[in-house]
Symmetry: D2
Subunit: 362 residues, 4 copies
């Protein structure tokens, strides 16, 4: 496969370009009998959609999703679920000027050499607009997981230099501000930073965290399909992501064994440095992952580049862009983690439905 599918038993396959007529996806492997409506999916799509604050791109897309199959009388049928979102606000003219140029840090150059030519309208298939379908598909996974008592939530843990203060952490704050920040106190600082950044015409990176609660012991397969390996795959596949951490992540480099190991007691684990995963399998603790997103490449500030003929040029990107792609990435990261968890939930019961373990779960 050419890589437009993800998941072994719960499989999401997407299509669509930034400026084509529509985006779509097929969700294959969803169990039957799950109550599902377009409204269920719209919720997260609205959290991701552009133009909800001055800090994101001003492109106006309602991102209204339609369910075209796989749902009958309000319930999933167990057959393929087709989803469609029409593109409404393309403004191709914004992009015509870059048809013959390679923007630094964009996929323009690699797409051109890989495929011989490229759809230059808004980045074509390389645009993060594709992630709308991941959010829609992830909504289905969230519905399934919630019925199993599993909740997946994400938040912005750092915006450029502005990190949240964990002492102020409050899940309820996340959807109360345009940054998905769980720290209400950090929001005004983020506002100020972003306003200055926008004036400057520059962009900045961000760090997003995702947490799954209520995960049972035993999800994930040894060796190559460890659930942390699949999470790394899923999260690194999000546009602009350059790093993935599970639990303590890169802090483990300087940790000693006595410091890192999560001791076990009859009433549970004493800590969660492992991020809820040991040997690639969930421990029953919260599954915790962090991702690093690079700054948007499309800048008003001129940069050196070349055109398709190899001539040096100076690139200034006009059009409408997110000064920090990380801001809108929270629902996308949640969706990818939900898809991985659901896929492994199904895989685990395929193989281990008959398992009856005498050992008490802590």
């Amino acid at each position: 496969m050419s890589g437009n599918s993800f998941g072994k038993l719960f499989t999401v396959t997407t299509f669509g370009e930034s400026h084509g007529p529509a985006l779509g996806c097929i969700v294959d492997g969803c169990p039957p009998g799950i109550e599902l409506s377009e409204a269920d999916l719209q919720q997260d799509l609205d959290r991701r959609k552009p133009g909800t604050s001055r800090h994101t791109t001003q492109r106006r897309e309602p991102d209204q999703v339609r369910i075209l199959s796989g749902v009958f009388e309000g319930k999933t049928t167990g057959t393929a679920i087709g989803l469609l979102i029409e593109n409404t606000d393309q403004r191709s003219k914004d992009y015509s000027n870059i048809a013959e140029t390679f923007r630094p840090a964009h996929a323009d150059y690699v797409y051109t050499h890989k495929y011989g030519f490229r759809d230059y309208r808004g980045g074509g298939r390389s645009s993060a607009r594709e992630t709308a379908m991941r959010v829609a598909a992830g909504g289905i996974a969230k519905k399934f997981l919630e019925a199993k008592g599993i909740q997946v939530r994400g938040y912005l843990s750092q915006l450029g230099p502005v990190a949240i203060n964990n002492e102020n952490f409050d899940w309820d704050q996340i959807d109360q501000n345009p940054f998905f920040s769980p720290d209400a106190a950090a929001v005004s600082e983020m506002e100020t930073y972003m306003d200055a950044l926008r004036k400057e015409g520059n962009s900045v990176g961000a760090k997003i965290s995702v947490v799954a609660q209520g995960v049972p012991v035993g999800l994930g397969e040894p060796i190559f399909d460890r659930i942390d390996a699949d999470l790394a795959h899923a999260l690194m596949s999000i546009n602009a992501v350059k790093g993935v951490e599970i639990g303590d992540g890169f802090d483990v480099v300087s940790q000693k064994g006595t410091e890192h190991r999560d001791e076990m007691f009859p009433d549970g684990f004493g800590s969660n440095h492992a991020g809820g995963i040991l040997g690639g399998i969930t421990t029953g603790q919260d599954v915790v992952a962090h991702i690093a997103l690079k700054p948007t490449s499309s800048l008003r500030l001129p940069g050196q580049s070349i055109d398709v003929h190899g001539n040096p040029i100076e690139v200034v990107t006009k059009g409408r862009h997110d000064p920090c792609v990380g801001i809108r990435a929270t629902p996308i990261a949640e969706a990818m983690m939900a898809i991985v968890l659901m896929d492994h939930y199904l895989r685990n019961r395929a193989q281990n439905a008959d398992v009856d373990c005498a050992t008490p779960i802590i």
Copy 2:
């Protein structure tokens, strides 16, 4: 699949437990006509094998690999390659005492709940011993890539608190010391640190870096099978890995767009913050990845845990263990990157063999 396979076109499937009769793997999808001998694979197996210095486990395993199929008259035939390594130094008695206990930070607890019981001999399938087969399979990928002018090499960039100094970086040093350190000056400090650590009975984490040179433009598929996503999957699937970075990794969080973007000039890129990957596709620059490995969980220092009946116990792990699993991880990380690159090399030519790009490659 239950996750013992990796790779879509160049597929590696492994089997074997730490203390079973043998480890093995099947390499499927290797092109025909490649000169291949057991000696080619033994080279990296010897770099990974235990007991080569006082800083790794004293278990003695020659890790002698046998090619059982897929090679005829010294050349690969294009059919499945079967590889086998017999286990020689098991010493099961070392482990008998932990049959009924869960060691903190080990997979004991999750395996028991996932499968109903577990092979407690040396960690069974969860042991890093399995990675010997990845190194063998990676050796085949390296052979193929070398013929295409692609070289994959790794090194230790940090051992616990001791980081290398990039000003002393020298590829030739890596195999001259027991740590795979490219910084000769850092070695004595590492020796001292490890000797103290061993006396203390503790363990420590490490950071490994892997670099591929000579990679052509265009490897990797958009969306879910981005080559960075597959690298993240492959590297996170290595035992003890808790974090993966591509290029600048988590540094991008606080970088501005002007700082991060790699400008392009007629004679090439001006920098490589992206780690040789844009939009999930190789740029032709060096592909750079870093991984964080947690400290070994098996310690002589007592830790709180529970037994299979849920009773509190104090665990002291005897037997032979690596005080820093990161040390031997360098050849494993190289192998996984080589497997990913070869897989995408084949995938790319499947889809794009007819592509003729008019644009000059910088």
Copy 3:
């Protein structure tokens, strides 16, 4: 995956029910630079679509396909191709009466037990209407193959008791009659037979043959992905198919080795009993397959069955149905063979692009 995808490198994933709003599919893995328009795909869709003669269902569906992605400026981009066909003539009322009954020889009973309930509108996902998307996807494969000199064509070889006479075989006749018969002389007999059958309210089976010409030597993989095995999978997955033959098929049971073996001469093979495939790999001869399609299950003639409560009932199927589903199956069988050939064409060049064989091809 739950089975809505087919193909390893050229992957087709479909969605949609008989009476849902639309049918769709995603074609993943199509090489870039192939000229492709909706008209290219409409051609075969029109050959398959209902209501083109009195011998097929009178449901009126234009089956107008839209390309939603993956094509830019008239050429495939190498990214996912999204296809959509809106359903226009559903008439759900025709089916309301069977919501609580199981029709003999239909999937009603198995869907209900597998999924707990079913979309009873026109058979939902089990309807052969889904095959419209296969034909559309197959059209893309045909375009690719034609550029490589490979042509895939099918025909009706037997309709109930009426077999074609191979002495009258003429490829040009196939699209000149409503039966895809290559034997013009047999058409009037088929007309008469079908008219009587329709009056009787009964249905009948059929045999379809598919031939690929211009296939190079070497397509197909040994062992499980033999190209004949993939063809058998692809063809048996077509609604109503109960048998698949390659070359001489079941005639080989009573053949002797001297009779069956295709002798080889410097200027080529002396015969083609093997149907162009040896050891699961193409020989360069015509690839020949035959399939058997069962009679339509929906009949006006009453049959014994049960309702969802297990009570005995008599079923009479009203609504609009094909008295011989085999008639419209020819373009579907062509599409499936084209998809298999394209998939293996890509797989073969992925692994064997470097192969340079000194041996002359006969």
Copy 4:
């Protein structure tokens, strides 16, 4: 993947050549806790192994299988099961004479052009010797299925011109004669036919049937992974198979709907023309499949062919061969059906474990 794997959740991957040091396979996805010993697998291996009667090849292979992983204290652990069979009786000299020739109806010619050269020892990877590993893997599936009340058995239904008489059908006879014939009365006729054939130096085809009993309703996925499509794939992938039928197979071509449809009654189906599969999903009736195997290509009777330089030659195959490969195919066909059923059993419970159907099963 290059096709050495089969099955999505219960995955079998094999390696090994006719005259290499060993054959092996990895069985991935087997649930834990199943009692499994080498003796369990040896049973069917002994039914398939050569040299058990004068009617099969006189090559002497004990086909002793070793379990190298995935089983601990007599039970499967849920991890990869590694199996190995050493080749003992190679006699490579028998084949040296054909290194430069292409035997008619063999894979010699296609392997050479696909891969550039070939392992000519006993057919290398194209030898049916590979199927020994399928039988071993199938033995694991049979063990799992038996615990679920599912039994898979095969038999020879026709040997060349000699068909069995169903009135004499007796399951208990099958292992009482060298042909796997359920009709004791036909055995002497088969003996006579085979003796004459062997004298003549010729070979003949055969028809094998496989039946699964106790199969629950609901195994199989709609669309491409219909269980009949997977069975067709699995059975057609067996060496020498040229045709696959489900239920009535090619007889359906001339059947009318009223004749073919299996009517349903409160106490069950009235017939089983469908072979236990509707819409690609099991009905709860016996699953019935038939395969056609071509005559062995290796004959003592001279045939026209070419050498690797394209020169005309006359080929006489010496060495030891089965005059009817069909005879030993029965356990292989059983193994492949068992693997497909187990794979779909696991897939079905992954997706539908929560399904609770109110409708009574007939």
